[in-house]
Assembly symmetry: C2
Homo-oligomer: 350 residues x 2
DNA sequence: ATGAAAGCGCTAACAT
DNA sequence: ATGTTAGCGCTTTCAT
């Protein structure tokens, strides 16, 4: 009995049997009335729904799950819920899930591949599928999981597994072009986590863009993709002769902004800064951030939609990752480089 | 059969029966070995674990849930996942849940009491308890739910239901004192949602504090608790003769900051602005925001801990809400009011 | 279109 | 300490 908290239960929860008895039909008919409408005559269906309503009957998803392997829950695993990119992603996911009749189990793995494994093992039997956002696990591990259950990977391309990504290359290309048009000749990329797939792709795109546009691309890092990480990046930046910076993401860029301000470097007058994601805060930091806007809401929603269609039996789109467009948002943190005659790059010290 | 996606399953998943047969013991012994260690001899327990490991057996939480009413999942319902206050709250909750061996089902109700009801109905049978963060439902509805399942309410006090809140009164009191010490004599409170319990409490605290310190308290609003809401509040503010503003929350305060900047009002020189929450972004907006820091992480963690102890059979702490301390964080958005001789309050227009 | 009956995998009395 | 047995609430053949 589940009656350690007896005083709560205001009478037992009604089951299909109660509804069946009350209705003068068999339990299986009641079951069908709810699980496969159409397999029961409209009239009896109506009657059943009515008495069910009256008795306060709700189908028990646990019981259904045990026999039918359907829990109507999907798992969404994120690497760090503290990162505002996930706001919109999670919300997009939640909405798509809700629209498809699914609930969302959320796991925050705190940037640890081990926590991620553990969370997944715990969640797996409860969920019908998984969205892995910014997974820190190896491709092989992910493939193993995908072999047992529907999986969609977000922000990363894993061969043979369905995935949805931002068009990092084009987005970065636009950022590089923008800086080129402003007259910059050298770009420093402030790198994010080594383990991040997107980090590699973005850095490569910067290099290629720079090459084509006859600019120089440097790289510094890796840094933790946080405001704090950006703060230390800013310090390192002082040593590099550069007039423009593209950061792995907005958090890092905001940290760079603050670090440069602290060190007396004017943005954008002396240094231009570009972020990536267009996540919460990038519009009200100072100066507001020029950034490559990732379609965050759509990313979350698309991943869930793909997952749901997999769950419903469609074969996963594993041929190529779904690529969603990015867009450059120009704000106040970018401008032409200082002219030669301007004061030399500043030295450290308030 | 759950074999619409047959090609995934690499053979059937082993059950306690498989382990039992392989081990030469009865299924219930295997069950006990996992669900109540100690009720089985150390030796056989060892043997069972070993073969289980070898066979790749994992206890099926669905089956367990059906009979034992334990899913090891708690539900966390938030009003708007897009609000950065939830970052830390959710993370605190996730961590506490994880520590207690629970997973977290997250629902975003998008500020709608109806969505909230629907989500809860969907989630209820899956979860062992609920944390309701900033619920928009009525006290009566919440009590009804709490009568059926363990519930902890966050950011709101509901009589007869366990709840965890920030010490709004003291926090606001400190904010008012701070403004008083700076020399302000009038404070305008920028109100959040009418339906928010915290909004009422905060406004009352501002009034009482002002009364005691012989200041004047005005109120404007309600506004949606978002940056956008703050933008329109800023416009309305121009009509009020005030030198200091306390906003319902940081989002609103940041909006006010931006709105005032847009309208040419210097903060803090001409107007002081105080927020509430100390949520993400309040430290890097311009000017950085003086705010009442709510113990967000602790709020989430405490709520979950209380919930878990309820789930484990402890009686809910319904006598009085758990009150967690708030703390004033002074940053750049507050300063003494402009002197009489300074230019009159600015008029609208760029 | 509906009913009867057999489980899904596990836990919890009740025996032993 | 361990085995036996009876379900948890539902879906699903297989009959009718």
């Amino acid at each position: 009995m589940a009656t350690s908290r007896t005083e709560r239960e205001p009478g037992p929860v009604p089951t299909i049997y109660d509804v069946a008895r009350e209705c003068g039909v068999s339990p299986s008919t009641v079951s069908r009335a709810f699980s496969r409408p159409g397999r029961v005559s409209p009239l009896t269906a109506e009657r059943i729904k009515a008495t069910a309503e009256r008795l306060g009957y709700r189908t028990n998803p646990i019981a259904r799950a045990l026999v039918a392997a359907r829990t109507a829950v999907i798992g969404v695993v994120v690497s760090d819920i503290t990162n505002p990119v996930y706001f919109s992603i999670i919300r997009g996911a939640e909405q798509a899930a809700s629209d498809a009749g699914f609930s969302m189990l959320l796991c925050d793995t705190r940037e640890s591949a081990r926590t991620e494994r553990a969370d997944i093992n715990r969640a797996l039997p409860l969920v019908e599928g998984l969205v892995l956002a910014s997974s820190r696990m190896s491709d092989a591990t992910i493939r193993t999981i995908a072999a047992r259950t529907p999986v969609v990977v977000l922000n990363r391309a894993v061969p043979a597994v369905a995935s949805v990504v931002t068009d990092n290359a084009r987005g970065m290309r636009r950022a590089v072009e923008h800086l080129g048009e402003l007259g910059h000749t050298t770009i420093t990329y402030v790198a994010g986590p080594q383990a991040s797939w997107a980090n590699g792709v973005r850095w490569r795109a910067v290099q290629e863009g720079a090459l084509e546009l006859e600019m120089r691309a440097r790289r510094t890092g890796p840094y933790s993709p946080t405001v704090l990480g950006g703060l230390s990046a800013a310090r390192d930046l002082l040593a590099k002769p550069t007039t423009a910076v593209i950061a792995y993401n907005d958090l890092l860029a905001i940290g760079v902004l603050r670090g440069l301000a602290r060190d007396g470097v004017a943005v954008p007058a002396q240094m231009s800064v570009v972020g990536f994601d267009n996540s919460f805060g990038s519009d009200f930091c100072t100066p507001s951030l020029t950034t490559v806007a990732a379609p965050l809401h759509a990313l979350g929603a698309t991943a869930v939609q793909q997952l749901v269609s997999q769950i419903k039996g469609a074969p996963p789109h594993t041929a190529a990752p779904g690529v969603l467009p990015a867009q450059l948002v120009v704000r106040e943190s970018t401008a032409p480089p200082p002219r030669r005659s301007d004061p030399a790059p500043p030295q450290p010290g308030s």
